[in-house]
Structures are given as structure tokens and as C-alpha cells.
């Protein structure tokens, strides 16, 4: 099993939000899962295609006559001597007709013996004696093809599938990269010897033997494989497979995301790469591969305790999108993000849990003191330089209000105008703003209505 390695949990959490924008998770657990390339010698597919007109004619003729031979195809359909023979041979190879002289001993052949030649008064194109050596009858498949005007062609294809073993999950069909490394021989790793192959892949033929919906429920491997024509039926009988580690497979991330609901957390599963995840419907099966404590509702409380941050107040996450925590100074600013409005952030928990799981919790950073709140205000104000040049007071007022709302109405004293100006002056880039504010305050406002009103 892969270790957690270095995982960019904030990025993963963002991918979760992109994959399912309907809600915002409060907790994510992620784990890298070993992917395997399973090379199947032969997978069986059924390809359905319209019945070619000539096949329909020959099958229809067989149905009408009960049994027929190459002469009948010649006489009634006008196909030449050789084509008639080749045609019947091919249709019997494809399982649509049964050659009665082939000596099959199966039930269908025995049944076919009983098919009688039916009379017809149709006119022939040429006159030939009836066939004795070779006669053909319709098989069930041929009858079905005729009824549906489509034939089912069974195709065996060797395929290379990418799968996770634990949990068993279908990732995709392996393809050679479009531009492989050209200057060296394209080496493939050796197949794993049986003792190194995960149990679920040693007996993957059991999975393949299930019907498509069961198989899909268990592993995500349905009847359609991307880029492969036809419906997957399963492993061809007696075919073999070999397993290699797919060490360069980017889709090796299993993510559990917890969404706050009144009763605690609701879990959803995502799979893919850190940059692109997709929702996976098989939660229960996936969950069986995660330690129980990760999914327990108490985990969030323990996780927050482990963050080394002081809880803002004793809240349960139910119904909340983030866990409020107290922070000071630079840490507070970091957690509030670097945009022009405060944002929740993802705090990765230290270390990994059993099985290589790494977790992150969504936190909302609240200032631990008025001074921190003022520094946050100053920081966010400075991010709106253009607006500041126009109206410092309005920007400061709006930002302070926005921060207050974000912090859940926590009440901090408003910083003085003088303090703010001094702090802005200390930043080289903000001196223009201060000058502009002074100009307005000292030389413009006193002579305008604003000044008089003031």
C-alpha cells in the first residue's frame, strides 16, 4: 500500500469542491492507492451491429426453408457458387447458422436434426439439384439476429486495464502515451510474481464472471470500457492475465470528504488525481477500506485539537462549513488567505493515520486579540489600493464590516484613523494613499459640502 508521501491537501480539497460543487466539505481524508496494470490475454466482448442486408437475406431464406445448402442460396438469392459457399461457412463460423454435417454433438445440433425442409413455390434464378452434403439450419443466435435485424459479434480482445486492488476499483484502460520516450527502448516492468499480486487480482476472473451491473457495483467496471468497442462480457474461458505495478498512474488518489449535516457528517468518495477528482458512488465498499476512527464524528474534534490552534468557542461542526479557530499575527493572515476577502482554509493534520491516510480540516481563522484584528484589517485594506486612493474611509469601513461578518459578529474596537494612517505610511507603497487621504482631509473636504457637513 502506498504511503501518503507529500500530499497537497488544500489542492485536493479544492478538487473535491470542483468535482461536487453542490456542497462544501469540512473534512477530507486522502490516501494514495497502488494502481496495477492487469494485462488480460483475452476479454470477451459482444459488439452489436446492424445485420448486413446479405446476411439478413440468407438467414431469412434459412428460416423460410427450414434448412438449406449453398445451392439454395444460389437458386433463390442469385449469389454465385463460391460466394454462396463462403457465405454459409462464414455465417456458421459466426454462430448464426449450424452446419448439420459438422458432427456436433451438442443439444442444439441434435435439435437441428429435427428441422424439416419447408415447401416453397417461389421461383428460382437457376435450377440446381438440392444439396445433400451440406445443409445448414438457424441457430438461436441467428434467429435472434434476424428478429432484431442486428447481429451480435463476439470478439476476443487483449486489454490492459488499470485497477486498484484495495479497494478494487477500475480506473481505466491503459494506453501507450502518445509520445513515448523515444531515445530509449520502451521497457515494461516484469509481471509481478503471484505472491506479490493482491488477492483481489489473483482471482479477478471471479469478478469478471459477474454480470455487468454486479461487476460495476463491486468495482466500477461496467460493460463499456473507454475506447474499446463493444460490451464487456468477461474473461474468455481459459485465458490468462498478468499483473504489473502501474507506478506512473496519476489516478491513484482515494479521497473521503465529510460534509456537515445536523447529525454529524455525511461522507462522499472521490477518486482520481490531486488535480482532477470524480465522485465515486460506491461509498460503502470504499469505506470498508478505511480505518473506522477516520469516519467517526468525533474525529473532527480530535483533529482540531491536534492542529495546535485554540478553538474559538466550543462548537460542533454540524451545520457549519468550517471549524472556527483562534489565531494571531502572521498565522491569522496566512489562514485568511491572500485574496481581497477573508477565506476559509484547509489545515492539514500533522502526520498520517494508519493505512497512509492524510487528513485536512477546513478552518475559519478568528483573531485572538484586537491587535490581530486590526492587523488583519490593515492587510485587507492594503489589498484595495486603487479604491483607497479614492476614499480611504469608505474602504476601511466596508472592510471592517466584512471582516466582522466573517468572524461571526465578534466584537472588536474599531482602530483609530491615526493608527491606520501611521501604519499605512510605514509601507512605502501606501504613502501615496496616505498623501491622498491627507489632501482630501486637509485641503478638499473643508472647502466642499463634505467638509462643511463634517
Amino acid at each position: 500500500m502506498s504511503g501518503a508521501g507529500k500530499m497537497d491537501l488544500p489542492r485536493i480539497a479544492r478538487s473535491v469542491e470542483e468535482a461536487d460543487p453542490s456542497a462544501i466539505p469540512v473534512l477530507v481524508h486522502a490516501r494514495r492507492v497502488d494502481a496495477f496494470e492487469v494485462d488480460f490475454q483475452a476479454l470477451s466482448f459482444v459488439v452489436e451491429e446492424p445485420l448486413p442486408a446479405v446476411d439478413r437475406a440468407v438467414l431469412g431464406l434459412t428460416l423460410a426453408l427450414g434448412r438449406l445448402g449453398p445451392h439454395d442460396v444460389r437458386c433463390y438469392l442469385g449469389l454465385g457458387h463460391v460466394v454462396s459457399e463462403l457465405m454459409l461457412l462464414r455465417l456458421s463460423r459466426e454462430g448464426l447458422l449450424l452446419d448439420q454435417s459438422a458432427g456436433d454433438e451438442d443439444a442444439e445440433a441434435v435439435e437441428a436434426e429435427a428441422v424439416e425442409r419447408l415447401p416453397t413455390s417461389a421461383r428460382t434464378i437457376e435450377r440446381l439439384p438440392p444439396d445433400v452434403a451440406h445443409t445448414y439450419v438457424l441457430t438461436d443466435m441467428g434467429r435472434e439476429a434476424l428478429a432484431r435485424d442486428a447481429r451480435r459479434m463476439f470478439r476476443l480482445r487483449s486489454c490492459r486495464l488499470i485497477l486498484w486492488a484495495e479497494p478494487l476499483h477500475f480506473i481505466g484502460v491503459a494506453r501507450e502515451p502518445a509520445r513515448m520516450k523515444k531515445r530509449s527502448a520502451p521497457a515494461r516492468s516484469k509481471p509481478l510474481s503471484p505472491e506479490l499480486v493482491p488477492k483481489s487480482l489473483v482471482s479477478i476472473d471471479d469478478l469478471m464472471a459477474l454480470n455487468a451491473s454486479e461487476r460495476e457495483q463491486l468495482s466500477g467496471l461496467g460493460e463499456k470500457l473507454p475506447g474499446v468497442e463493444g460490451r464487456l462480457l468477461g474473461c474468455a474461458p481459459d485465458s490468462q492475465w498478468e499483473v504489473r505495478v502501474a507506478d506512473k498512474e496519476p489516478n491513484s488518489l482515494l479521497v473521503f470528504a465529510g460534509y456537515p449535516v445536523p447529525e454529524g457528517l455525511e461522507w462522499r468518495v472521490f477518486v482520481g488525481s490531486p488535480w482532477s477528482l470524480s465522485a465515486c458512488p460506491r461509498w460503502l465498499l470504499m469505506a470498508s477500506h478505511a480505518p473506522e476512527e477516520l469516519l467517526a464524528p468525533e474525529f473532527v474534534d480530535e483533529a482540531v485539537d491536534g492542529l495546535g490552534l485554540e478553538r474559538a468557542w466550543d462548537v460542533k461542526v454540524g451545520g457549519q462549513e468550517a471549524v472556527p479557530v483562534l489565531a494571531e499575527g502572521a498565522e491569522l493572515l496566512r489562514m485568511l488567505g491572500d485574496t481581497d476577502r477573508p477565506m476559509d482554509s484547509w489545515a492539514p493534520l500533522q502526520g498520517t493515520r494508519g493505512g497512509g491516510w492524510a487528513s485536512a480540516v477546513r478552518v475559519r481563522a478568528l483573531p485572538g486579540s484586537p491587535a490581530s484584528a486590526h492587523r488583519a484589517l490593515l492587510e485587507f485594506v492594503c489589498r484595495r489600493e486603487v479604491a483607497l486612493l479614492h476614499d480611504l474611509e469608505a474602504v476601511v469601513g466596508a472592510t471592517w464590516e466584512k471582516l466582522g461578518r466573517y468572524w461571526g459578529g465578534r466584537d472588536f474596537p474599531t482602530p483609530s484613523r491615526e493608527w491606520l494612517l501611521l501604519e499605512l505610511w510605514s509601507r512605502q507603497a501606501m504613502r501615496g494613499v496616505v498623501c491622498q487621504a491627507r489632501l482630501r482631509h486637509d485641503l478638499v473636504d473643508p472647502y466642499t459640502g463634505t467638509g462643511e457637513a463634517a
Binding site: 446479405v54 433463390y76 438469392l77 509520445r179 523515444k182 527502448a185 520502451p186 489473483v202 481459459d238 498478468e242
Partner: protein, 922 residues
């Protein structure tokens, strides 16, 4: 994949291990899967041992992995061979099951596996087979232990003779072998994408639209389905698809016509390259490297190490096409016997006129008689047509030819898919119309007939698909087959692929159709010309190699290197060591940019491995090979150049030789060389017999009648009109630059002589040509006028057609006068390199080279000369300057062993022939 490789190995060693036997089957590689449960029963001893351990047998056997092996007490594994063969289990045979906590030995009982021993002692070797099973302690009356013993014994034997390590090594070697081919195709594809997509054009025809350019079209223009934009008189351009290029490579035939005369007659056209053929090649190589089908593994092994394939047993047959077996047809019989006995790959080597097509016809008829589906592939259309003309209508043959009508011979047009489908559709419509007229409404068969008639009437594709689905002989060019939707899947749908002219197809060309078949029969002659190589493409690949290894090469240098690389390859079979050495020297000198110190490295032979080793040695500071010195400051540069040379030699190996040449190392039993030539007068075959085919090229008795000895002053079959006595200002080639290496050579005097010869032949034909074919039908008189150089051919074409020809056609026309038998006199002008596969009654050959430094250029090339001198049935008239082309010793005698001198020795030399040589105007 390894599973396929194991199966192939087993089959090739007569060990087709059962893939399943009742309840046991193979699964994951090195595993056996058991359906249901395996019943076990305990002996008293085992019960005691288990009690001592405090475990139950189910605990032991159902916990963790179980590794199994079958063995005979006190005997080696060979003791199981008899059991495998005859199915009688030896005495004291048991299965050892190694579990996590104990080793358990079981023997066959009637209704269970009897546990006779349980031991905690670890085994010396862990068995190689993982048994995936569930065990229960009970007796099962219907249980038969034998299948488990049989499958395990088979696996034991297989693993004894084929270690997994060895098979994995083979897998790596296969991939390694294919890698350079893949790189080459990738490089060529990149070049195609990046190459300049415009060229000047002139319309050659408007229906279908055909365009010419200056000289032959570059390869990127000639790939089928390439999109071409041609400017119109009304402003915006029209887009066409390339259907194909003519044999001479200078006329592009597009997929539509221009009935409203909107296209500009000349201008600049644009292309959007089609990478499809390269993609098909890459797909084929990937499938081969992965071994997705068993035949693919055989194919890669045959290509990688042809000498290691097992000998094969020929299969006797009753001829359907060949004439009775006699000394002259003996090899043809042997070739068919070998091909019929071949379960994978074999070669038929056919020198000119030895009956390759006859052998192919017989082989196809034999295969079709056995209900096999055959894919006939050839890089040239004429090769396909030759076969189809003979057996396309034979009983039991349903033949379809893929490709455009413009390139197919008139006589095989009916086999082209659209035409064949159209003809069949028409026939069916007529017959079915009559059959259904007045037929009872309620009769089921009549209803089917009516429906079938409606399909034929409303859906013309119905008959096309009928033919494609049911044809037992499909004929196509190598890439043509993979461009059809029906054959896009990489599946061996055909039982046998026969490739004619296989010496003209590269390995990459061959692989595309080869992946559609299970067996491969290649017919060709590596002593003729190798596949065409696009020099611009080669130069671009050389440039990439140089960039990669450091340095910014000039375009000119890259072109020079590409040209030298090709010349070096072209002379690989030249009998003269001196000629071959000179070519190698020229190549090294060009690559080393004439640095005298680096050029001394030419002492290292042209072998990839040796240059790679030199690069490694220089990099590691190891001493140079004995006798070689290099200034210290040049070691780094020499290392880079050695690596470049290694890559160039690899490029040469991958891009230039034909697949036929690659497979020459097959065991003797897989190759048959046809010998009796039936094409030409014995005197014409003499040169190739003595200097190309080791004297094993006798002439059949029927060839004695060839020769046309009654053409005045041209009586002998082999004639050399020698211009050496003509004044130099008349006889020398043009352009006459300082070093006589101008490139596009032509020779005015030879042109004038050729005109006289053609006139003489036409006069004679009009008076005396009365040949008939085997059925008594009169035959046309065919004249071939060929040159070794394109410019000379172009001038010959213009002048000969102006004076003697009528009708349309860029390189082939009909003479104004008719032959004495009422048939046409056909004139076909060409260059030698495009003339392979052709045969004519009379061939006039212009040597072109004539200069004071006696530079013979590429005339002095074994393969090219062999093609040039074996095209004529009755008469070959070479026009050339003996002083330039031949070599004489100090006694004035022609030098023995020198190719052109030998050719002159075998010819009737005429130094005063015709008006041109006497200084008169023609």
C-alpha cells in the same frame, strides 16, 4: 504478454499445456485456479502429525498462499514425461503443497486427495505454481484427482525447459528490437507534421483532378487521404483528398473532378499532411511489442532472430496452376510445398522472370481450396494486377482489389470493389426482378427475395459489403489495407498474407498488413532495388540526430550525409571491395566534416555496435582500438561523432533495407530460390547469371526463341552502342561543371541515338511484329526506354513522344504506327529505379554518364544494373560511353570483375551505329 509467450513456447516445443482440465484452469500467470472445492482425506499418519501440531488440515491449507508441485518419490522431474504423454500416473507420485505453516503431501485417492504427510520442516525450494483453491476435509465420490496432477505435471515440465527469466528476457529483447523502428517512424511522422506544406503544381488532368510538380512529389504529398488545397479562378481554394500517386511518383491523382474548369491551371498548392499511415505503423508495432496475439510473438521473433526459427516440413500438393513437374519447374513446386508447410513465415526468392507470379497463383489456389482466407499485398499495383489477371476469375476465387481505378490494369478493373459491387448489383437486380415477378405474395421465400431485391436497389453498399465480407482473396497495398474501416482493428483476420515484391517494402511497411494475418509468405528478390527512400525525410532525421547530440548542422550538410548514407547502403552488395570501401570513406568524410584526424576513424567497420563501443570508450577515457590515434583535444568531438555515426547506421538499418533482406537469415528449409528464368533471351540473362545469382540462373528451354534477330543492324539480343569514339563535345554529359558531379545529368548524344533506335524498332514492328499469346491472341509490341537518371528520362519522354507517339499518358503512350499484327506499339519511358517489376519486348537503356574523369555515378551499382538489364524479353540496347563506364587494363582488355566491363563483354558492341554517331543529323 508473458502468458502468450509461455503458450507460444509450449506450442513450439510440442508442449501444448492444457489451459483447463475439468475443475482446474490457468488464471493469473504462474497460478492454477480450482473451481469448487478440493476434497482432502487424512491417513492415520497425517492425522497423528496434525494432532501433534494442534492444527486441522483445513486450517493449514486455507490460510495464505498454497504453492504446489507434483513429484515422483526419489526420481527426477523427467519421470513425469511418460505421464504427460500417456496419462498413466507413475507409482509414488504425489503433490507437495507448501502452505504458510506446514508442508503437506497428498496422493491421488478415489474420491479425494489423500494427505499422507504433514511436516513443518521448510521445503528446500518453494514450488513455482500458486494454487488458488479452497480445501475441505471430506470425501467426494465424483472427485477425480487426475486432472490436477496432469496440469501440474505439464507446468512442471514447461517451467523446466522455459524459465520465466528467459521468457521475460525475450520480451525485453522483442521490445528492444522494435524500438529503433518505432523511433524512425516517430521521427518521420514528426517531419511530416513540421515539413513545408506547399509546392508548385500544374494540372495534368481535370477528371479526376491530377497534378504534377517539378520532378517527383515528395513523400508527404503522396500519402493517401492527404488533404490538398488547390487555388481556383473564383478566389477561394478547393480541397481534395489524395487518392494515389502514379508509378513514376510525379502525378498526384485526387479524389474528385473539376467539371466547371474552376481550378487554376498552375500555381501553388497547400497540403494538410495525413499521419494516418504512420499511426497505423505505430499501432502495429505496439501490438507486436505487447504480443497481443500469439502470431505477433512469432512474427517479432522471426524478425529479431530469423536464424533461430525451427526448420519446416514441406507439404506435397496436387498442382492446380503449375505446369507438370520437371527440372525447370522443380523449384516452383518446392516453393509452394514450403509455403504450404509453413505455419509462420517463409521466403520465396525469385530472380527476374523465374515465375514468382506463377508460384503465387498456385499457392493462392491451394490455400483457397483449403478454405483459407488470403491477403495478397504488394507495394506496387502492377504486382497485384499480374496475379489478378491470371487467377482473379479462376473457379473458387472471389477476389477483391482495394485501390483506385486509375492505377489498376484495364483487365482487373472488374475486381475493384466499387466495380465488382456494381456489376454484381446489376446482375442481381435483373435476376431477382424476374424471380419475384408473379411470385406468390404469401410465400416466405418469395418475401425474402423481394426484401433482398429492395436492399440491392436502395442500398448499393449492400453488395460491396457482401463482397468484402465474403471475398477469400483480398488484394491491397501495405497501407491500403489498414486504411479500410473493415480492417482497422488489429486482428489477424486472414489466414495467410502473401507479400509480393517484398524487397521493395520496408519493415515498417510490412508490419501493418502483417498484423492482419496469422502466417506470412514473402516473395521478392533482394538483389534488385531496395525500397524507395525519401531523401528530404532522411536529411530531416539526420538533422534531429545532430541537434540532439549537440551542434547546429547546416541543411546542406544534413542532405549530404543523408545522400552518402544512401549511397553507402546502395553499394552494400557491390562485388568490388574497393567500391564499397570508397563509399564508406565518403560517408565518414562527410560525417566528420573532412577533419583529417576524425576521418581516420573510418578504420572502424560500419557496424552499429562498434561505433557505440567507440563512443563509450571515448567517454570513459579508455584507449582507442589498436593502431588508432587521436589528438587529446579531439576526443570529445570524436565521441560525439561516434555516437552520431552509431545513430546513422541504425537509421540506415531501419529505413533502407526491405523486409525480404531482413529475413534472409531464415533457416534454409524456409527459403526457396526459384532459378529457371523464362522471361528473356538467354544472352540477356547472362550478366545476372554470372554476376548476381552465382550462376544459378539458367534459362528455360522456351527462351531460345526470344531475340528478334531480324532487326537490321540490331540483330543480337544484347547490344551496346558505344559512343566513346564520338567527339567529346558531343558525347559528354551535361551539366558540365568543374567536378562532373552536377546531379541532374542528361546526355544529348545518347538521346539522339535513342531516337534512331526507337524509330528503327517501330519500323521493324510495323513490318514484322506478329507475336501472339498462348491463346493465339495478337500481342502489342512493347518498347521500354529507360535511363539511370531522371533528367535524361524526362528529355527522352518529351522527344520520343513528340516524334512517335499519340494518345494521352505522361510516361506511357502508344506509337502512331501499328504493329504488323494490328496491335499497338507501346512506348514506356522511365528511369531504372521506377522500372522494377516491368518487362518489355525491347529495352533501350541510356547510360547517360560520360565525362573526362570517368565517373560512373550510380550506374555502377549491382542492384540497379541487375534491374536494368533484366527488363527486356527479346532485346536490350544499351547506349553508353564505354570510355567512362568500363575499365580496361594496360593491355586494353576489359577488366574482369568490373560490373560494367563485364556487361560490355557480354554485349555486341557497336561503335559506329546510326546517323548520330557518324555526325549526321537524325
Amino acid at each position: 504478454m508473458l502468458a502468450n509467450r509461455i503458450a507460444l513456447y509450449a506450442e513450439s516445443h510440442g508442449l501444448p499445456a492444457p489451459r483447463s482440465l475439468e475443475y482446474v484452469r490457468l488464471g493469473l500467470v504462474d497460478c492454477l485456479r480450482v473451481s469448487g472445492v478440493l476434497p482432502v482425506a487424512l491417513t492415520g499418519r497425517a492425522r497423528t502429525e496434525l494432532e501433534e501440531l494442534g492444527l486441522s488440515i483445513e486450517d493449514i491449507l486455507n490460510e495464505g498462499d498454497i504453492w504446489a508441485r507434483v513429484e515422483v518419490r526419489n526420481q527426477g522431474p523427467e519421470s513425469l514425461d511418460g505421464f504427460i504423454r500417456e496419462g498413466v500416473l507413475p507409482e509414488e507420485c504425489s503433490i507437495v503443497l507448501v502452505a504458510q505453516r506446514a508442508m503437506v503431501r497428498v496422493v491421488p485417492w478415489e474420491d479425494a486427495l489423500g494427505v499422507v504427510q504433514v511436516s513443518t520442516e521448510p521445503p528446500r525450494h518453494r514450488p513455482a505454481t500458486l494454487l488458488v483453491a479452497r480445501f475441505v476435509e471430506e470425501e467426494e465420490p465424483s472427485f477425480d484427482p487426475l486432472p490436477l496432477f496432469q496440469v501440474l505435471a505439464n507446468r512442471e515440465r514447461l517451467s523446466r525447459i522455459a524459465s520465466r527469466k528467459k521468457l521475460e528476457q525475450e520480451d525485453r529483447e522483442d521490445r528492444h528490437f522494435l524500438a529503433p523502428y518505432r523511433r524512425y517512424v516517430e521521427d518521420a511522422k514528426e517531419y511530416l507534421i513540421e515539413s513545408t506544406p506547399t509546392a508548385p503544381y500544374q494540372l495534368a488532368s481535370r477528371d479526376p483532378v491530377s497534378v504534377t510538380t517539378q520532378g517527383p512529389w515528395r513523400r508527404e504529398f503522396t500519402i493517401p487521404e492527404t488533404l490538398v488545397k488547390i487555388p481556383t479562378e473564383i478566389g477561394f481554394p478547393r480541397t481534395f483528398k489524395v487518392e494515389e500517386v502514379n508509378e513514376e511518383g510525379d502525378v498526384l491523382i485526387l479524389d474528385d473532378s473539376d467539371p466547371d474548369l474552376l481550378l487554376k491551371f498552375e500555381g501553388e498548392l497547400e497540403i494538410k499532411p495525413n499521419t494516418g499511415p504512420f499511426d497505423r505503423m505505430l499501432e502495429a508495432m505496439e501490438a507486436l511489442a505487447s504480443g497481443t496475439h500469439l502470431p505477433y510473438l512469432t512474427l517479432v521473433q522471426a524478425l529479431r532472430a530469423p536464424e533461430r526459427l525451427a526448420p519446416l516440413e514441406p507439404v506435397l500438393f496436387q498442382p492446380l496452376w503449375l505446369r507438370p513437374r520437371n527440372q525447370e519447374s522443380e523449384r516452383q513446386y518446392q516453393a509452394v510445398e514450403t509455403a504450404l508447410g509453413c505455419q509462420d513465415i517463409c521466403l520465396v526468392h525469385g530472380p527476374p522472370g523465374t515465375g514468382k507470379t506463377t508460384v503465387i497463383c498456385e499457392l493462392i489456389l491451394q490455400l483457397l481450396a483449403n478454405n483459407q482466407r488470403v491477403l495478397l499485398v504488394a507495394p506496387t499495383h502492377v504486382a497485384l494486377d499480374n496475379v489478378l489477371m491470371r487467377i482473379g476469375d479462376a473457379p473458387g476465387v472471389v477476389a477483391i482489389r482495394l485501390g483506385r481505378s486509375a492505377r489498376a490494369d484495364e483487365r482487373v478493373q472488374k475486381h475493384l470493389l466499387p466495380k465488382a459491387a456494381g456489376t454484381l448489383g446489376e446482375k442481381l437486380r435483373g435476376e431477382l426482378d424476374q424471380a419475384v415477378a408473379g411470385a406468390p405474395e404469401d410465400d416466405a421465400v418469395a418475401r425474402v427475395q423481394r426484401e433482398w431485391l429492395a436492399s440491392v436497389n436502395t442500398n448499393p453498399e449492400a453488395t460491396g459489403s457482401l463482397l468484402l465480407l465474403n471475398a477469400n482473396l483480398l488484394c491491397a497495398t501495405p497501407i491500403g489495407i489498414a486504411m479500410r474501416r473493415e480492417f482497422r482493428d488489429l486482428e489477424p483476420l486472414f489466414d495467410v498474407m502473401i507479400m509480393d515484391e517484398a524487397s521493395k517494402a520496408t519493415v515498417a511497411d510490412f508490419l501493418v498488413p502483417a498484423t492482419r494475418a496469422k502466417r506470412w509468405i514473402l516473395v521478392g528478390d533482394h538483389r534488385q532495388l531496395a525500397p524507395y527512400a525519401d531523401m528530404e525525410e532522411l536529411a530531416a532525421i539526420v538533422q534531429r540526430a545532430k541537434y540532439r547530440l549537440g551542434g547546429k548542422p547546416s541543411e546542406e550538410w544534413c542532405q549530404d550525409v543523408a545522400a552518402e548514407l544512401r549511397k553507402h547502403f546502395d553499394q552494400r552488395m557491390h562485388p568490388s571491395e574497393e567500391v564499397r570501401r570508397q563509399r564508406w570513406h565518403e560517408l565518414v568524410e562527410t560525417v566528420m566534416e573532412e577533419d583529417a584526424d576524425l576521418v581516420r576513424l573510418e578504420a572502424i567497420p560500419p557496424e552499429e555496435g562498434r561505433w557505440h563501443q567507440l563512443w563509450q570508450d571515448l567517454k570513459a577515457g579508455r584507449p582507442l582500438p589498436e593502431g588508432m590515434t587521436l589528438p587529446e583535444e579531439k576526443r570529445a568531438e570524436a565521441g560525439r561523432r561516434a555516437q552520431l555515426m552509431h545513430e546513422l547506421l541504425e537509421l540506415q538499418r531501419v529505413s533502407m533495407p526491405g523486409i525480404f533482406e531482413r529475413l534472409l537469415a531464415l533457416p534454409e528449409s524456409r527459403k526457396v530460390r526459384l532459378n529457371y528464368q523464362q522471361r528473356m533471351a538467354p544472352a540477356l540473362a547472362e550478366f545476372s547469371k554470372c554476376h548476381v545469382y552465382d550462376k544459378d540462373y539458367p534459362s528455360a528451354s522456351g527462351t531460345q526463341r526470344f531475340g528478334l534477330g531480324d532487326i537490321h543492324e540490331l540483330e543480337a539480343p544484347s547490344i551496346w552502342i558505344d559512343t566513346q569514339l564520338a567527339p567529346t563535345q558531343l558525347r559528354y554529359e551535361s551539366p558540365r561543371d568543374q567536378n562532373w558531379t552536377g546531379g541532374h545529368y542528361y546526355n544529348e548524344l545518347e538521346l539522339r541515338i535513342a531516337l534512331e533506335v526507337v524509330e528503327r524498332c517501330i519500323d521493324w514492328g510495323a513490318r514484322s511484329w506478329r507475336e501472339v499469346d498462348a491463346k493465339g491472341q495478337p500481342l502489342p509490341l512493347e518498347l521500354g526506354i529507360i535511363s539511370f537518371y531522371g533528367e535524361q528520362a524526362e528529355r527522352l519522354r518529351k522527344e520520343i513522344f513528340r516524334r512517335f507517339a499519340e494518345s494521352e499518358g505522361r510516361w506511357r503512350r502508344v506509337a502512331r504506327r501499328r504493329a504488323a499484327n494490328g496491335q499497338t506499339i507501346d512506348l514506356h519511358v522511365s528511369v531504372v529505379d521506377r522500372f522494377q517489376g516491368q518487362e518489355k519486348d525491347i529495352v533501350i537503356l541510356s547510360g547517360t554518364r560520360s565525362n573526362p574523369i570517368r565517373n560512373r555515378g550510380h550506374v555502377n551499382n549491382l542492384n540497379r544494373l541487375n534491374v536494368a538489364v533484366t527488363r527486356a524479353r527479346h532485346k536490350r540496347i544499351l547506349i553508353g560511353d564505354g570510355a567512362t563506364l568500363t575499365r580496361r587494363d594496360k593491355n586494353g582488355e576489359l577488366v574482369a570483375g568490373d560490373l560494367l566491363s563485364e556487361l560490355m563483354r557480354l554485349s555486341d558492341v557497336k561503335v559506329r551505329w546510326g546517323k548520330a554517331l557518324r555526325g549526321e543529323t537524325t
